[in-house]
Amino acid sequence: MLNGIPLFWYLIVSAALFCIGLYGVMARKNTIAMLMGVELMLNAVNINLIAFWRYVTPKSTAGLAFAAFIFVVAAAEAAVGLGLIISVYRNTRSVDPEKIDSLKL
């Protein structure tokens, strides 16, 4: 189903998605929203991996294996990150990253 879609279309869209996620991580005032930005960035990486697999080495499975491991890492990261956020929220009633500073000297 590649008829006429050049590879760089995928690369540009995934670069845009990555940068939107990066903006979300840097600019949001809520830790959950920052994690959403991280998920967008991981999705951008996965689009790139699968697009390169399809256009460059469709007979090898390396690109697909990398994408599968990114799924695993994303699931683990979301579970641990949200667990941490809920624990912090229980103790401080806040999820503002600027207020979570109990490790600061």
Binding site: M1, L2, N3, G4, I5, P6, L7, F8, Y10, I12, V13, A15, A16, L17, F18, C19, I20, L22, Y23, M26, A27, R28, K29, I32, A33, M36, E39, L40, N43, N46, I47, I50, A51, W53, R54, Y55, V56, P58, K59, L64, A65, A68, F69, F71, V72, A74, A75, A76, A78, A79, V80, L82, G83, L84, I85, I86, S87, Y89, R93, D96
Partner: protein, 220 residues
């Protein structure tokens, strides 16, 4: 220039993905942000279909939409006091500038237009055949499955991934568990004792039930 069906589909999906992603990072209500995240994940699954990776489209729908975004919605609902938050923090302008700059650099490096700086040409990389090789058979997914359990290929990373998921699950339950109020009270008493002890040496310190404290800390 007439667009093919696939190109039109690509453009529609790309617009859906990018617009909902922008809404994810700008909406004030976090619940709406989580729902837009689901829309964005659906669009990415559409990309996988266009890329002949139907298996990964299904995995995307099951893992990202079925599991991760549900986790996000749970987290948003469990922190309802702060469900709306400011659109950005004090550095959002700098963040937007950095993100836009990175995107422009990436677009120049990846796109078909070459940028010439002092006689050196940047960008315009020729990525193999612009239309890609012919579609492969469905055996690639079977090869991937066999590769994941074959020690010549990805068996070790596969097992490490399994261990990672187990550790993440146990760790998430451990970190986010509800603590009993008695333990919390004991901890607070211990913390207060530490504070008092470091500030001034007062006899209050002796009244605290020390054995209880040590038990409470052992439990954690």
């Amino acid at each position: 220039m007439i667009l093919t069906i696939q190109q039109i589909l690509f453009i529609v999906i790309a617009l859906v993905v990018l617009i909902s992603a922008v809404l994810v990072v700008t909406t004030r209500n976090l619940f709406h942000a989580a729902l837009f995240l689901v829309v964005s994940f659906f669009g990415v699954a559409g990309f996988y279909v266009l890329l002949d990776a139907g298996f990964f489209a299904a995995v995307q729908v099951m893992i990202y939409i079925g599991a991760i975004s549900i986790l996000f919605i749970f987290a948003v609902m469990l922190t309802r006091d702060v469900i709306t938050s400011a659109r950005g923090n004090s550095q959002w302008i700098a963040a937007a500038v950095v993100a836009a700059a990175i995107f422009i650099i990436a677009a120049i490096l990846l796109g078909p237009a070459a940028l010439i700086i002092r006689g050196r040409e940047f960008g315009n990389v020729q990525w193999s055949d612009p239309n890609g090789p012919a579609a492969t058979s469905a055996t690639v997914i079977g090869d991937l499955g066999r590769g994941l359990v074959s020690f010549n290929q990805y068996a070790v990373p596969f097992l490490l991934g399994a261990v990672l998921l187990l550790v993440a699950m146990v760790g998430a339950i451990w970190v986010a568990r509800e603590r009993r109020s008695r333990d919390m009270a004991a901890e607070r008493a211990a913390a207060a004792a530490d504070d008092i002890g470091s500030d001034t040496d007062q006899p209050v310190q002796e009244e605290l039930p020390l054995p209880d404290n040590s038990m409470a800390t052992e439990k954690h």
